[in-house]
Subunit: 459 residues, 2 copies
């Protein structure tokens, strides 16, 4: 591991950590209006450091919400271009009284750094910035590849501005791949790359029955009840085994490769522990022919999130409501097309809508699944970097959720994302006593250095 960048990073660990603490002291809580200036201050702190370490064209870009940060360094012709993403905003710190040390006064305990944003995502953002510094210093003021930065301050509040910006600035953001540092290791000391996310179609299904709310005593037995209609329709969407009944729904589903499946089986995963500690239910459900990881990472699902309408307050009211709604989403996997799925869903709902009822479907969002093949050159280069740092084989996992910015990189910019994250499952994201394991902060910096060096060497 004769990397001049890694050598520099090792010599400067204490300073890097100390700078991160300064960033963590800025309470950049994006959801609270009273912290608007703090979010701006955090953006300025990051932008000025990007300038200091040698990035060019650094901009703090005003938006309707909180600023975006752009920067680039594009002096490596013939070399690939990375688009580095992270976010500098944080979740609110409540409940405050559960913090052992105050959320915005970073404290070290047991080799962990405790603070709001330590791992989500300021610590991981700082890894990217410090890797650039180490690469510049280690390579005589040059980077081994071209690098762009796009950082946001609204990740915890929906990320609307970055989504707009990506759509408007396709040329400016042109790159070969994105580096996204906002995820975690599957287990401690286990180098992990997330190579797949499920897609999403989120709808609201409305059923209309009588023209106004009716008394269920007077009209029960003759008037169509939109809640019963929804129950009838929803019960036909998925069977008891978890299989979705919309015709053609599984037609395009592409299974993970045998190699990927084999790798998942080797992951340290205790299903009983997962049921008890994470889910906390009497049993797990779903398609029994597939493992839990397979079901949540690579099988589509259909869920109901809420059913607004009618009488929901305390007590009893005998109403047949005029309307009722159900919030229904579908998670998609490769190669399901969200538009095709939406069409099939709509056609099927129309077909199973019972007599006397009108249904309408509202679309709230849609995005396709994205999966990067593990033999992708960028994934390969990242894998080698991780191996060198952790002295362990990298595991490739997926996530059942959707990371909108990754979907936008995939859909709009047409580039794959290398989701390289160094958090741990017990890092208390969004909760009191959020932490970042300090050795993972250093490993992150080194991994990024090696990753970019590998790409620069054309390995």
């Amino acid at each position: 591991m004769a990397s001049p960048a890694v050598a520099y990073a090792r010599q400067n660990q204490q300073r890097f950590l100390s700078e991160l603490k300064d960033l963590l002291r800025i309470p950049s809580v994006s959801t609270l209006a009273e912290h608007k200036n703090d979010v701006q201050r955090a953006a300025d702190y990051v932008a000025s450091e990007l300038r200091r370490v040698g990035m060019e064209n650094v901009e703090v870009i005003p938006t309707k919400g909180h600023p975006l940060i752009y920067a680039d360094w594009l002096h490596a012709p013939q070399m690939p271009t990375a688009l580095c993403y992270a976010h500098y905003d944080v979740q609110p710190p409540d409940p405050l009284n559960e913090w052992i040390t105050p959320p915005f006064e970073p404290a070290e305990r047991n080799n962990n750094l405790y603070a709001r944003g330590a791992v989500d995502d300021k610590g991981q953002l700082w890894m990217e910035v410090k890797a650039i510094e180490a690469l510049m210093r280690g390579h005589g003021g040059e980077l081994p590849i071209n690098v762009k930065f796009l950082l946001e301050g609204e990740e915890e509040v929906g990320g609307e501005s970055i989504a707009d910006y990506i759509r408007k600035q396709k040329r400016k953001l042109k790159a070969d791949f994105a580096l996204v540092c906002d995820t975690e290791l599957f287990a401690p000391d286990l180098p992990t790359l997330c190579v797949g996310l499920r897609g999403l179609v989120y709808t609201e299904l409305e059923a209309r029955g009588p023209k106004t709310d009716l008394h269920s005593g007077m009209y029960g037995g003759a008037a169509p009840n939109p809640f019963f209609a929804l129950v009838e329709i929803l019960s036909k969407l998925k069977d008891e085994s978890g299989r979705i009944l919309i015709p053609g729904f599984y037609k395009q589903v592409k299974a993970p490769s045998p190699l990927e499946l084999k790798a998942w089986k080797r992951l340290p995963f205790d299903e009983e522990q997962y049921r008890k500690k994470e889910v906390g239910s009497k049993a797990l459900v779903g398609e029994s022919a597939y493992s839990v990881l397979y079901r949540t990472w690579a099988r589509p699902t259909l869920e109901i999130h809420g059913m607004p309408g009618g009488f929901t307050a305390e007590g009893a009211k005998t109403v047949i409501p005029a309307r009722a709604r159900a919030k229904v989403s579908m998670r998609l996997v490769p190669d399901q097309d969200p538009n095709d799925i939406l069409d099939r869903y709509q056609a099927y709902i129309k077909r199973v809508t019972p007599k006397g009822i009108e249904t309408r479907i509202k679309l709230w969002s849609k995005g396709q699944a994205c999966v990067v093949p593990t033999d992708n050159a960028y994934i390969q280069a990242a894998t080698e970097a991780l191996r060198a740092v952790f002295h362990q084989e990298t595991v490739f996992i997926r996530s059942g959720g959707s990371i909108p910015v990754v979907t936008d990189f995939y859909d709009v910019l047409r580039i794959p994302s290398v989701m390289m994250g160094f958090g741990l499952p017990d890092d208390n994201l969004h909760a009191p006593n959020e932490k970042f394991h300090i050795p993972n902060f250093y490993r992150g910096i080194e991994s990024i250095c090696l990753f970019f060096e590998n790409l620069g060497a054309g390995s």
Copy 2:
């Protein structure tokens, strides 16, 4: 029709109407705190008139809410005792700008008296009071039967006080039947007695899945979703034809007599008109082997009124909620026992609760159906009185709803109710421009006079 009471009533029609207008000027809106004194004033006005016409032991009984009024006259040994019920509170008058004349300034137009409470229920209460005056005056200061009054001021807000009072004062309220004047004619000029009400079991079914709300991306496909569990359970409660699938649910159902069914077929009822004007839906639903009136009056039903839980605000949130609930009620018919039905419902829910889910059932209310046979002596005496007044045969209808006070008279006092009402289907109850057709006010007074005279004569 040589009734001295009716003769007196006819001579005093204008005064009776004028007194009713005075009562209607008092805005006794029971649900609005700012009208609490007005409700009290209305009670005092009615009580003082009961005293004036010759009723004894008149009490205005304070309660936690609005006062009850009690009165009696018990000097007809060997004769039956009537318990007269009505209510003196009214609905709020909003929206005010839709009233042609102000709601608390009674106005006559086209032989109708317009005011909030005109028909619901001050006008019908006043019929009862004025019938007593006419009977007293026509019979030399005596009544043909024993009479008790129990009037309330909380009918529009749940009637809690009267329910308590009935349970505590069974001896004091002992009677042979109740006269309830708070319903309507099936059609104009068609004398109507309501002889049946459906019972009710109202529950809240809760399903619990994960210990906390989970992200549907991360956990969808493995974590049990309580909304899907409810959908699965509810879809097994009733089939598409409206038939309830709880084993033994129909075991005790007693069909109406062939005579009653034959009579319903003769009622002026236009199903298409009902669908378009009253229900306003694309189609009517329910068990097709039964007519609409049969289905809503004499067949049990099961309805969903609301499904609280999860995410119900505008937009999309990808949550698998820890809990979800459904408000489910069943309307019962003779001779279904609410306790037996509740047991069967609970056992069946338990049986169909899917894997991974716990269900709990909360009972909000229960009451049995009550039906008075049409050959009952009080119904017969009322029928004859109506025939004499309307010169038409009386129709016997039922109502699909439940009138709690009638259920209490039946369950607690063990007496049948003669539901003799003189409203019309277009009287705008609970709506702007509520009215009472003035000839029906007079017919009501005369019908009660003849009804009590018939009973006094032992007819």
